[in-house]
Amino acid sequence: MTDLVSIEHITQRFGASLALDDVSLAIQPGSYTVLLGPSGSGKTTLLSILGGFLQPSAGRVLIDGADCTTLAPAKRPTATVFQDYALFPHMSVGGNVAFGLRMQGVAKDARVAKARDMLRIVGLDQAFDKKPHQLSGGQRQRVALARALVVEPAVLLLDEPLGALDLKLRRQMQDELKAIQKRVGTAFVHVTHDQEEAMALADHVVVMNHGRIEDEGAPERVYGRPATRFSATFMGESTILDGRVGADGRVATALGIFDLAGGNAGQMVHVAIRPEHVQIGPGIAATVKDVVYQGSFKRVAAAPAQAPEVALLARLPAYAAVAEGSAISLQIDPAQVILLAD
Amino acid sequence: MARAISILYALAIYGFIFLPVAVLVLFSFQGTLFPIPPFNGPSLRWYQAVLNDARLTDGLVNSIFVAVLSSALATLLGFLSAWGFARFTLPASALLRGFLTLPLTVSYLIIGMGLLIFFNWLGLPKSLAAAGIGHVVINLPLCFAIIYSQMGEHQANIERAARDLGAREWQVLTLVTAPMLWPALFAGFFLSMTFSWDEFVIAFLLTRFETTLPVEIWNLLRAGLNPKTNAVGALVFGISILLAIVFELVAFRKRPQ
């Protein structure tokens, strides 16, 4: 199937700094893509280029097969939900949602009907005549969504849409976003720095750092088998160990020798171990350095006797009797150790 | 294309704005007696004439005096009242604050007239001091508004910290509040200076023998167009630009963190 959006070798320079470095990405129809990364990673810049608010220094953007690189936002089949929602304060909610249709020249009755329909989909059909300042943050977010969706874009772009909401509301909106996306069928491209949000919403996660794509794929794969050190520590936590590939292809580290495919003899590598795969059991004697209680589990950092400089992270059950300074024995699940590409 | 039209329009407006100033400066260098075309020059004779004209130089000095003193007083009163209203819950606060800002809505002519009648009735003579009083009246609301708008909760917390560390009220005021607010104080003072320096009507109504520069210029011009006034105008312009540069450097370099 042909890509809905094809981003080809996009580079973006601002003066001397390189915001995006030869980024290429394909987005499929009906998908929910999340651009995930810390601030400065280039994710918002990429979204701006997709939306037409920025012209890339180099590269092409193709939407539905057509080269849209230099096309103005009005002419592209994209619509953007802005971080501050940018609802027009002097218009009613209905006026806001119908705005795009009005610009297209749709007759009044038709566009009011469509606006009402879309407001129903986002659960705000009662708010048609209200003004934006009368709504709560979460409601305004949904109006912004409705306003962008009603013009039936090929791709919907969302710039950190849930950043301004508190945790509980954010979780609720995440569920709603996913439901709306499935219902409407439009491809969503969503920018965030919150990795939990990315995993909850995306069927395609793109991890970005310093203007490059570090890793991309289904959330299960990107989390389960991160490709790089950045990915392993940005998506969830990991203990990173130095390793050396022996003649037999096995990787020797300070905490043991692991059977990992893909390394060349003699190569210096890094391996990642997720805390949930480190449990109490025979294997590594260690001293507990830090315990953080998190309700359903305890996050424990321990210094192994055989390698005291390493901070081995373990996710232990909440009832585990551990305290700072106590002795502990940890077991690493060898099947879950990941060989990183960098 | 749209860009070209924008640039042309902007240049046209700039041209319109600078037209009288350009003419003013040009004819301050006029060689002959009258500041009308054609231009004969350049000549510095009118600048010389201005510096020799005691009334004009006296007027300049008087203007500076009145401006500095009235602005300082307006800033001080504005600061004290802003602090009082911002840090204490006083009854009818909104009403009283509205009262303080009321003079902003009244024409200078009317303020001047009121003072003229009032002083007349009290038997007080016209003087520079009277004009100064009028200038404080017009500038106090401005200083109050500017400083009050800067006295938010953030500043209040810093003052609370100072009090917590043992400072007495007057120490908090002089060692913490005033220095913290210095951009607002400076802005109020500078703006007051600008308005007082060039103010005509109140000075005209309330002064007699000793008067400010705008009034002296007016008196000079009643006898007919005189290139001396162009020279004075150009000098005033030059001084003002200098002050503006000073303001720019002071206000925008030392941005408090």
């Binding site: 608010f53 103005a72 936002p73 009005a74 994209t78 940018a86 027009f88 304060p89 705005f99 795009g100 297209q104 962008a148 013009v151 | 329009y9 407006i13 319109f16 704005i17 037209l19 009288p20 100033v21 003419v23 003013l24 009308i36 075309p37 009163l77 004290l80 009242s81 204490f88 819950t89 006083l90 009283l96 303080l100 009321l102 003079p103 809505t105 009244v106 024409s107 002519l109 009317i110 009121g114 009648i117 009032f118 009246v137 106090l140 609301p141 109050f144 209040a156 609370r160 009220e169 705008p214 210029i217 007016w218 167009l225 006034t229 162009n230 004075v232 105008g233 005033v236 630009i241 503006a244």
Partner: protein, 279 residues
């Protein structure tokens, strides 16, 4: 807010300013109102000064002249200043904007009196404009620009274009750039974005600027006196005439109060837009 502390300190702090305003603003106003009720050469309390205003056509005409001139000035100034402020806010590159703005208001710092006389130089029969147009052959006879209402309007417009550029610029800059982006994103061309989004959002700011222009212009003495000529008088000139030529403070006071009433009426009409908002 620490009301728990001695409110005495608070009162002590605000009293100087309050007293000053009371003694040198409120009381003079009362004195003026009182003076207006005792006509010169009359006997005691009377509304003669006020009735005279309505009876005497030349007095009444001063008010209508003032209203016409200030409304025309406000309209022209807004029409000229808005596009200019727009260009400064959205077309000029960011790092040059403060400089461009400073340049636009630099003439504020020439003496108002001298600047008005310079306009005379430009607009007079033998002035620069006429000289240029005549020598270029575009005119057969010099235009009457100075010493007429045209001169007054031009003088005022010059001042208020600078002032309004400043206020409208601040207004435009304060709008979130996402409004324009959202409008563009939803298919609005530049004209549509302006009409449907930017203009309505900046309208309150424009109304404030218009009101400011009205208040400042209607009370200004210098510009009409220098550039307006002798054929028509505006209110401030009428008022000054009472003091200067006739020494009639009573009449001048009455006229001042009438002027203030007119401004108050204007304020009430515009009150909707003039609510001071706390950001």
């Amino acid at each position: 807010m620490s009301g728990a502390r001695q409110p005495i300190a608070g009162w002590a702090s605000v009293s100087p300013a309050l007293l000053w305003t009371l003694v040198f603003f409120a009381l003079p106003f009362v004195a003026m109102a009182a003076a207006s009720l005792f006509p010169k050469g009359g006997d005691g309390l009377s509304l003669a000064n006020y009735t005279q205003f309505f009876a005497n056509p030349s007095y009444w005409r001063a008010l209508t002249n003032s209203l016409e001139v200030t409304l025309v000035v406000a309209l022209i100034s807004i029409l000229l200043a808005y596009p200019f402020a727009w260009i400064l806010a959205f077309v000029v590159p960011e790092r040059w904007q403060r400089l461009a703005l400073m340049l636009a208001v630099l003439p504020f710092w020439t003496s108002y009196v001298v600047r008005s006389y310079s306009w005379l130089l430009v607009l007079a029969e033998k002035g620069i404009v006429n000289d240029t147009l005549l020598s270029l052959g575009l005119l057969a006879e010099p235009l009457q620009l100075a010493n007429s209402r045209t001169g007054t309007v031009i003088g005022f417009v010059h001042f208020f274009v600078m002032l309004l550029t400043l206020t409208i610029f601040a207004n435009l800059k304060q709008l979130s750039p996402n409004y324009r982006k959202a409008a563009a994103d939803l298919g609005a061309g530049p004209v549509q974005a302006f009409l449907h989004v930017i203009l309505p959002l900046t309208l309150p700011g424009i109304m404030v600027g218009a009101f400011l222009t009205f208040v400042l212009a209607i009370g200004d003495y210098i510009t009409p006196q220098i550039l307006g000529g002798n054929n028509e008088l505006l209110m401030p000139q009428l008022i000054m005439m009472q003091i200067g030529r006739r020494g009639d403070f009573a009449s001048a006071s009455a006229l001042s109060i009438i002027l203030m009433l007119v401004v108050s009426v204007a304020y009430l009409l515009c009150a909707r837009w003039l609510k001071i908002e706390r950001a």
